[in-house]
Point group: D2
Chain length 343, copies 4
Amino acid sequence: MTTVGVLGATGAVGQRFVQLLDDHGEFDLSVVTASPSSAGDSYREAANWGLDTPIPEETADLTVRATDPGAIPDDTDLLFSALPSDVGAAVEPELCEAGFVVSSNASNERRADDVPLVIPEVNADHLDLIDVQRDQRGWDGALVKNPNCSTITMVPTLAALDEFGLERVHVSTLQAVSGAGYSGVTSMEILDNVVPHIGGEEEKMETESRKLLGEFTGTEVDDHDAVVSASCNRVPTLDGHLENVFVETRDDPAPEDVAAALADAPTLDLPSAPDPLIEVFEDPERPQPRLDRMRGDGMAIAAGGIQTTDTGIQYNCLAHNTIRGAAGASILNGELLARDGWL
Amino acid sequence: MTTVGVLGATGAVGQRFVQLLDDHGEFDLSVVTASPSSAGDSYREAANWGLDTPIPEETADLTVRATDPGAIPDDTDLLFSALPSDVGAAVEPELCEAGFVVSSNASNERRADDVPLVIPEVNADHLDLIDVQRDQRGWDGALVKNPNCSTITMVPTLAALDEFGLERVHVSTLQAVSGAGYSGVTSMEILDNVVPHIGGEEEKMETESRKLLGEFTGTEVDDHDAVVSASCNRVPTLDGHLENVFVETRDDPAPEDVAAALADAPTLDLPSAPDPLIEVFEDPERPQPRLDRMRGDGMAIAAGGIQTTDTGIQYNCLAHNTIRGAAGASILNGELLARDGWL
Amino acid sequence: MTTVGVLGATGAVGQRFVQLLDDHGEFDLSVVTASPSSAGDSYREAANWGLDTPIPEETADLTVRATDPGAIPDDTDLLFSALPSDVGAAVEPELCEAGFVVSSNASNERRADDVPLVIPEVNADHLDLIDVQRDQRGWDGALVKNPNCSTITMVPTLAALDEFGLERVHVSTLQAVSGAGYSGVTSMEILDNVVPHIGGEEEKMETESRKLLGEFTGTEVDDHDAVVSASCNRVPTLDGHLENVFVETRDDPAPEDVAAALADAPTLDLPSAPDPLIEVFEDPERPQPRLDRMRGDGMAIAAGGIQTTDTGIQYNCLAHNTIRGAAGASILNGELLARDGWL
Amino acid sequence: MTTVGVLGATGAVGQRFVQLLDDHGEFDLSVVTASPSSAGDSYREAANWGLDTPIPEETADLTVRATDPGAIPDDTDLLFSALPSDVGAAVEPELCEAGFVVSSNASNERRADDVPLVIPEVNADHLDLIDVQRDQRGWDGALVKNPNCSTITMVPTLAALDEFGLERVHVSTLQAVSGAGYSGVTSMEILDNVVPHIGGEEEKMETESRKLLGEFTGTEVDDHDAVVSASCNRVPTLDGHLENVFVETRDDPAPEDVAAALADAPTLDLPSAPDPLIEVFEDPERPQPRLDRMRGDGMAIAAGGIQTTDTGIQYNCLAHNTIRGAAGASILNGELLARDGWL
């Protein structure tokens, strides 16, 4: 078994990590950290457990540690980071310097030239950027990132459609409140309402997509040429980001070609990797967040509403934002790190 | 005073007509119709009044009539139609043949060559198609349509931006449940959910927009050249359609030019016409359905989130779907018909 | 294996039966019925599957039968009824006369003197009313009922507290929309709203509770003396009925005595029976519908907020209304029927 | 005109005060205070205006002052307090000592023997406690409180029913999220959920009700004898508290007697006082929060679902929690203070 820890384990994403790591076949969760005020408490006390499955008993009994290199046992093989980005920016480099491998969901350094930004089914080869990273930063450890939740939802579909020549992407998102964390969206903001703006989200989708779809040359990643314009909305759903995607393509594929390309997207043989990666629906009313966010145990992308336009195609896609879009994404990256011998 | 009636007065849109016509300065509501089973009842009994203002007392005491030319007094100057499209398709032509002028929200015949599809602030001149219509159909009456609620929300903004050369439009809608009528969306469909499809809606936005923005030659309307691709979603809001619009333009306007063009859109001097037509917000989190749907008493368009892209501009717009998008739209068309001497 | 069927298998409760019977260790689902218009279709076609787990493949391939004694194979050991009460009233007696044993969720005949109304953990002995029933009606089959969803939520707690001398019950319910079926509550009725009335529900709670808590004398059930007054509300939750209960008791138990009585409620060794029957929370903010409705796989009762008053006690209880409150309740009754040799 | 100020004017209740005081016929709002960090800003800048009507322009241009006796002009006739209770506890006595009359919605000191807790239509005579207060505390000013929002909703109905001999009250509340302030309830807590506990609320209902219904002897208030047991729930509605009330009465009134007693509750001739005070609905599905919270411009109580039980009566009542239940309540108390010559 690989010994793992979760940094920032008491927040909304941290709890999702703890839930997903319970009974994981390869990872043994033995370290949970939180802010200094919680250090020393049991996880049961420190976490105000808010998921709809019971708190995992073994983790509940762990003592919460400070999020600090000195507080984490040296033999912890892999750390998952659910830290806020400002804390991540401060602590993750220290941990990597101290020799830890960190698979992080925090947004800091996602765009850094020597930090791999990875969705295993899309760009597993970018992991080799770790060599460049270690070289440049003198680290024994490593820092690997997964993209933002709204980006992850779309990019596997774009990767599957790149064979038709991606040229231009317009995307509107309908994002669930859990993406903002437990207290990120108040009830008075969102009941009977939509908020048509999520700070920084549009830029993340535009830049992270191009890096993920880019080509790793051996020393760096060349961004994909396609321009992405995003419009991001918060809607009154709990979990599951739905996205309307319009893609202008070089070729002129028929809807059935598009459906086939999505349905046949390559999958990986990793514990958390879904098969198929993308579930394609014929019913134009699907996918829907509540009905389809748990496809593939929350790790699959659901797609539907495929149509052609005069300049390309349009379709909808959906993923569970705190599983495939956050905690599950980091865990899958961790499984890839383990398989490829980086731990 | 102009004597008016409402066809289909007991449904969700019909009730909105009744609410808006209460205390209207120029229109006197004296006729309400419904399905044969309600004919003879008082409106109070027939309508299961569901709006959050009390039922207007004078209308409550009216006796409901059948939706039938023979049941409507000849001296009714103007009829508003809140009929379902299949009923409208059967009854509206009969009424026009019998000499009534009908301002209709029903979707039947919106695309007919000789039926004016009108938003007064956008294409008031299309009303002259009535001469063509009377000529071709031999009617003494007239049939005028307002567009679909999702189309009305966007088209005033597109009209204001046409000075920059509209070439291509991508739009995603986040539509309120009231757009589907009182029983159109069940609670189990929409709580904690989004439905990414509204039957026929995308096609309506694509075709109606081009007709509205088209040029009236004196005998027909030449559709605008811009291609519109729409993706329509139902979200858990009660009223107010929010739309994310991406426009490719010939010119390259700055955001402040776009804002000025929207804010300066021409207004009309009609009782229900808002001034300004378009309220422009600087705060990127606005407009929001719950906070902004009642701007201009529900008749204004709210816009915000203006940004430029590499090929044009993107922004959000919002309107109250059962006021500006349905009942209020027909009433405004009725006011235009009165002003221009068609009654 | 016991061969079972589901009557009315395409509705909201019918689908829940199909979901729960998938992979049931003792029951093999081989018959699904629906209205005549669906007979002959595959279940996949006939059901517009609306649950958030995939449709069970084996059931999906079954051919839907008419809800009619002649259409159901004689060797079907047990029928579960998810029929509307008017259809149940017409068909269930015919089926029982034809020799079938029917475990029914439909509300018809729940109050009939010779029809057992059963929650296995509360009044399993009432099942012996079947002898009376067969005697009086000349049936080879049998008809057994589970109570209404709002009643099931409360009665196991009342049974556990009867040791303190139940004298008077006031209860307010906060009921989920799924209790009204897929189309029972429209979105316009319930978004940003509460409906403080559910037709017939209050009377069901008042009469069914007393029968369930009553004593079976060998020939009939003597209702419990305690008077129940209920006030029933529909709230914007999907699943899970929450109830505020005020009980006047003969004795004067301390809160910890109440908690212990609830936590120690007897359980049964049946496949669907949860253990514990009642999960007691110390946190006064629990139970909550979304977080706690799936306790015991949706079959447990959750309780909390225990306080004493000057005349007795008050507390909250919660159960999943379409599992413990409907389909799961009938299945549990079926398991009891099987164990006790009635099939 | 009476010159008034609002303490804590930028919060959710503070904004409601500002909205309601716009165009008030007798009160001229000229002072707004907030926390020190906002002092010196315009109200437009300091308030993140969140109501669905535009910010009143005159108030928007006021300069925000610190909530401090020294910062408030001496000639301010009346101060409304929308302060949090801890701030209210610190500042309100200072202001009263400095000679200001404060009509406060804050919960501090509501139970103090010499502080009038007033609903004008219920216990206007309790205002004479001010003489006792001034005597005991040596103040030139005065402190008057309105009760908690959930209490205000119920007490006018109890007062109207006291003629039948109130003996015991059980009440369950279904309270809107706005009652907790703008950020009090997160979206993740309440979407598809109910929270069956509101800290301190049950005790407030139990004690405040008895004081409001109590008798003023000239020197003190003797609490009413009736015991109140409350169970308080937060539900996913924006505004409007709905309550299920069970009352045990000495007499045995028929439902029509109850309806008449409620409908005939005495009203007052004050600018914000509704007439009737209590609107009684025959339809058992009414009142509903979204449809009925704005009755009487948000100041009326709506009641319905009247039934008799073996020990008394049960019914539902509803009021707008931030108008009748908070800001409007304080303003109405202010109007009473003005009428009775206390300013």
